[in-house]
């Protein structure tokens, strides 16, 4: 109802329904659909993990996470303690090697190397290595480390680090490229040295993406089996020595036990799988919360 004093508008401010707006709406629905589509297998896998693994992993808590691995694999019962320690040692070690090295390498490539021959060569090698099958990395570690120094968690960490390196370099360089040059120039204009600019301006700006890339690499490393088969040997009891003696890891245990015909072993495989997923997810969660500090 029109009243005296109402503003009179010749045009409505609502956008007209045209093909363009409908198309935009359809694309939005499609994107939402994509998310739904990818959530389905995730839910299915999580359901499989929990339904098969939760009872094994959480009965008589924390037995599964602390007890040693039963030597006779067909016998039911916990646990996976040594494998959890092994995974932490191996993945932690690999991260400590690959992430700093990869980030610094990418910094060189983008901030210093540019198009020089050396930089092109490093970039080329990193690109070629993104597709290396994990088994090939395992062979490499066997020849370079295990044959000379025997089984150890360090050998496993080395193999995983080699797998992680190309991913960290690739994703870091991509993110560095997207930091606007104006930021660098402004910092230099203010009198900062190049190193200081990189450390205080460029890296923090690219940090969320760099950490995303690093997390992807860590998640992959935690779930990899092949390099560890060649570097760790086998163990059923705790081995906290990083450079010394055979060890085991959750991924290796999952693979070995899942291949067994005996339900007791298969159950432990699923319990270990659930444990690995929860453990790695916890790490990514912590890292993401830490990253939130950098977001403006």
């Amino acid at each position: 109802m029109r009243h005296p004093g109402d503003p009179v508008l010749a045009l409505s401010l609502r956008p007209r329904r045209t093909w363009r707006t409908v198309k935009s709406w359809l694309m939005s629905v499609a994107m939402a659909g994509a998310f739904v589509l990818i959530s389905l297998p995730l839910l299915a896998i999580l359901w499989a993990l929990f339904s098969k693994g939760a009872s094994v992993a959480f009965s008589h808590f924390p037995a599964f996470f602390t007890k040693e691995i039963p030597v006779v694999s067909r016998r039911p019962g916990p646990g996976m303690g040594p494998a959890i320690l092994g995974t932490l040692l191996v993945t932690g070690g690999a991260t400590l090697i690959a992430v700093p090295l990869g980030i610094l390498g990418a910094v060189y490539l983008h901030e210093y190397g540019g198009k020089s021959r050396f930089a092109r060569l490093v970039r080329f090698m990193a690109m070629v290595m993104t597709g290396v099958p994990s088994i090939v990395m395992g062979l490499f570690v066997y020849v370079v480390w295990t044959m000379k120094y025997g089984y150890s968690a360090f050998g496993g960490a080395l193999g995983l680090a080699c797998l992680m390196l190309p991913v960290v370099i690739g994703s870091t360089e991509t993110m560095l490229r997207l930091v606007p040059n104006q930021m660098r120039e402004a910092s230099l204009a203010l009198g900062a040295t190049k190193a200081r600019t990189i450390l205080t301006v460029v890296l923090p700006a690219a940090a969320p993406g760099i950490i995303s890339g690093a997390l992807l690499a860590v998640a992959r490393a935690a779930g990899e089996t092949a390099p560890l088969l060649f570097a760790l040997g086998a163990a059923t009891s705790y081995n906290p020595h990083f450079f010394d003696q055979a060890n085991t890891a959750l991924s290796v245990q999952i693979f070995g036990n899942a291949m067994s015909s005996f339900t007791a072993a298969q159950d432990r495989a699923w319990g270990a799988a659930l444990t690995l997923v929860l453990l790695t997810f916890l790490v990514t969660l912590v890292a993401r919360i830490f990253t939130a500090r950098f977001k403006r």
Partner: protein
């Protein structure tokens, strides 16, 4: 730079280290290190998954009696075991087949000794409704696995099974995707006993026809058989039993159809020809009651042990495997060594110089 601090702490705490093994050949790799803790010894083995179940039970029993010895057995396949031992990355290897002559020179530690430890059966497991008992001769088996025979009611299968009603189902052949000593011994049987029908040779990897299915490990093959009607495949007996599979009785060299049991496997052991170095093949063994697809596995060690403590531990462990440990075999669906073979193996223990 907290990561630097963490790295340094980790490095320092791991500095309980590396006493290199005593002795060792000229320029050869030093064997894995002794753990700290005064008197404790760790020995590593890897290789055949066929014998893994026995290794597990034996390790448990042996380490209970000898608490200062730790033993790890990593599986990974006979080939891996042989390679690991050649490179002296492990102290003993498990293998279902010996080294090839050409490879012997590559063994870093010199002369090796083969210790047989058990005998076991490969079953012909199948999934066929309404057929609880199936008899197969090696000639027919060869044709089935080669895809010369494609249906269950084929005359060749019917000839092996007089009086049995066979359905017209398609045969689905299941085999190993991964290289395996089981495949090697199974195809050795098809090769030797198949009457010339088997054309695909014997080996750890075989050029299987395209219209077959592959699974990883014995459990993978078992899984294909249980989930596919009309499937047939070769599976180690303990995996076949654990998966609840039906398996066939198989015609042996003496012409009798034999079911795989502890007795028929032992009988196969009685009919073998053992070489001086304790190598032999139990495939297609002589004897009326022998199960023809019986095979064998060895623990391989270097005659000259480089580390005194480890060498002693290895020697004692192998002694256990071939003497008291044999009691563990029947409940694992394996057969113990026949007495003459066991005596020879025990005598060979003296050749291990610690």
């Amino acid at each position: 730079m907290t990561w630097l601090a963490i790295l340094s702490v980790a490095l320092i705490s791991s500095c309980k280290k590396n006493q290199p093994a005593t002795g060792g050949g000229s320029g050869s790799a030093s064997a894995p290190m002794v753990t700290s803790g005064g008197g404790a010894v760790t020995i590593n083995g890897s290789g055949s998954t066929f014998q893994k179940a026995f290794q597990e039970s034996a390790i448990e029993a042996f380490t209970k009696a000898n608490p200062n010895i730790k033993i790890n057995y990593g599986g990974g396949g006979s080939g891996k075991g042989r390679q690991d031992l050649a490179d002296m990355v492990v102290d003993f290897a498990g293998a279902d087949a010996p080294y090839k002559d050409a490879d012997l020179a590559k063994n870093k530690g010199g002369e090796i000794l083969y210790f047989p430890i058990l005998l076991g059966a490969i079953t012909l497991s199948y999934n066929l409704d309404g057929v609880d008992k199936l008899q197969l001769s090696p000639e027919t088996a060869a044709k089935i696995f080669q895809r010369d025979i494609k249906k269950w009611n084929d005359p060749a299968i019917a000839a092996d099974n007089p009086g049995v009603k066979l359905p017209a189902t398609d045969i689905v052949v299941a085999h190993r995707a991964d290289g395996s000593g089981t495949t090697e011994n199974f195809t050795a049987w098809l090769d030797q006993a198949g009457g010339g029908n088997w054309k695909l040779k014997s080996g750890a990897t075989v050029e299987w026809p395209a219209d077959t299915q592959a699974g990883q490990g014995n459990s993978g093959v078992a899984q294909i058989i249980t989930s596919t009607k009309g499937a047939i495949g070769y599976v180690d007996q303990s995996d076949a039993k654990a998966s609840g599979l039906h398996y066939a009785t198989v015609k042996n060299a003496a012409g009798k159809y034999i079911e795989p049991t502890a007795d028929s496997v032992s009988a196969a052991g009685a009919g073998i020809d053992v070489k001086d170095n304790l190598l032999f093949s139990a495939i297609n063994a002589k004897g009326d009651t022998s199960y023809p697809i019986t095979y064998q596995t060895w623990v391989i060690v270097y005659a000259k042990q480089t580390d005194k403590d480890k060498g002693a531990a290895v020697k004692n462990y192998i002694k256990y495997l071939i003497t008291d440990g044999q009691k563990l075999l029947p409940e694992l669906d394996f057969a113990p060594l026949p007495k003459p073979l066991q005596d020879k193996a025990v005598a060979q223990l003296d050749k291990i110089q610690v």
